[in-house]
């Protein structure tokens, strides 16, 4: 008798478990999908996400603090100093080496290098993984203007100094009496 009972029990439990399973999958079928159509829409990226770096070049003073902090030496930077202004030669990060540790961000005295939220940078060639963070090479227009202004100021100052010196010399001449300092020059 127990054979018959277990036979019927098998049928009942088989049908029941199938129906339970179908109820679950049916419920999910009617639910809205939870996936995101990736290239068209993206999930929000957390604020502290460590993606590709970006540089606020205007603020940077080429102090090399970030390059020195980098444990894998993937930052290379170079700039020529003209007085206070910088003429940029390069600022590259080699993403073949970079491990996105964010250690370059903390030592920056001007707070000008940041980790961004871009993570998709697939390339077809390794050389394309050397990212140049500079938005411009050489000097910025503002820097050039500031430099020219500074030079003009300097020139003016020099001219004023020269004029003053000449004036003083003339004044000394008209007074006649004092000893001639210009003798040796002449």
């Amino acid at each position: 008798m127990s054979v018959v009972a277990s036979y019927i029990n098998n049928i009942v439990s088989g049908v029941k478990s199938t129906l339970v399973g179908m109820r679950i999958t049916g419920k999910y079928f009617l639910k809205k999908p939870i996936t995101v159509q990736y290239p068209d829409e993206r999930l929000p990226i957390p604020n502290r996400y460590r993606g590709i770096h970006y540089l606020e070049q205007e603020k940077c003073i080429n102090c090399l603090a970030c390059a020195r902090a980098c444990p894998v030496d993937c930052i290379e930077m170079d700039a020529v100093r003209h007085g206070k202004e910088l003429e940029w030669v390069k600022f590259t990060i080699d993403y073949q080496k970079c491990m996105f540790c964010e250690l370059c961000v903390y030592p920056c005295p001007k707070d000008c290098i940041h980790m961004g939220n871009e993570f998709a940078f697939v390339t077809t060639d390794r050389s394309e993984l050397h990212h140049d963070l500079l938005s411009y090479k050489g000097m910025s227009r503002e820097a050039r203007i500031r430099k020219r202004e500074a030079e003009e100021k300097k020139k003016k100052k020099a001219a004023a100094k020269a004029a003053k010196a000449a004036k003083e010399a003339q004044a000394a001449e008209t007074e006649g009496d004092p000893p001639q300092p210009t003798e040796g020059e002449a």
Binding site: N10, I11, T18, G21, M22, I24, T25, G26, Y28, F29, K31, P33, I34, T35, Q37
Partner: protein, 366 residues
Amino acid sequence: MNNGNIFLDLLVRFAPEGTPSWLLDLSAAGVGVGILVAMVSVIAMFCVWMERKVAGHIQCRYGPMYVGGWHGWAQSIADGVKLLLKEDMIPIGADRPLFVLAPALVLGSIFAALAALPLAPGVFFADIDLGLFFILAMSSMTTIGVVMAGWASASKWTVYGAMREAAQVVAYEIPLGISLMVPLIVAGTFNLNEASALQSGWYGMHWYIFQNPFVLPAFALFFISALAETKRAPFDLPEAESELVAGFMTEYSGIRWSFFFMEEYAAMFLMSVVAAVFFLGGFESPFTSLARDVFGEQHFLASLTAGLVLLVKAFGGIFLMMWLRWTLPRVRIDQVMTMGYKYLTPLALLCVLGASIFEALWLGVA
């Protein structure tokens, strides 16, 4: 008058006088086959797209979304083009003639079976009195093709797949046939058109599953057997991608592989239509009945409604098959055998017995 083929009827009406009758027969057959092939391809492609969508949504994803714009509707077309352009490879050790013949046999037999399906009341490729018998015979032929493919590929996986297919299909032919005997006892005809027309009472709800209490369990048994017949999960042991790579079609590529693929979906459609006709009222539904009353018995729109009703029922069955596929895990081969021989077959026999007694005593049709 009906010669058994609407295309032949049309050709006879429009052909010039004195055309030899063999020419008419041949061209009617050609037109019929062309339409059938186109129909099957469209249905198979739609089913593939539907399968991917259903699978996606059951797993909380979207499925194809890009090709063609609206929800990836052209995905199957793109896949078809890809398959056509793929290299057609035949392994060195393979038995070439059998290897080439196998997919053709599989697809050809399923086409033959589909030819017996009615499209609408009075619209059919072939009106066969033993229609259901013909369909079962033809759909069983696919097994020979599958075994052939498995053996000819000269690979271990394919032979395993073919062995499993042979064992499984032989086991499930029995409950499939026996469970179909139940509605046959009620209907008293093998002809699909007549069987469908017999369910038109009760405003189109006089379906066989409501006519006799034993038809409903027989429907469940038929559906399970049909799943096994069409090699669908949870009975997809001949394919069993996680154990046998792709089973009997491991060595096939390109268009030959797509023949097997198309056969699977065509067989699903076939089994769903048979289920719809012999259990779920065929063309009959309240809509069909209403359309008949409004437009008249022979009107074009009434036929169209009937055809659409059958199509909806068929795709309902296909959807159920997909739902089961993405719900249940694959069963082991011994479990498949146990289920076929120890559960489905005796239960189907019980259903036949019960239905016969019910028909004989309660309804007095002895």
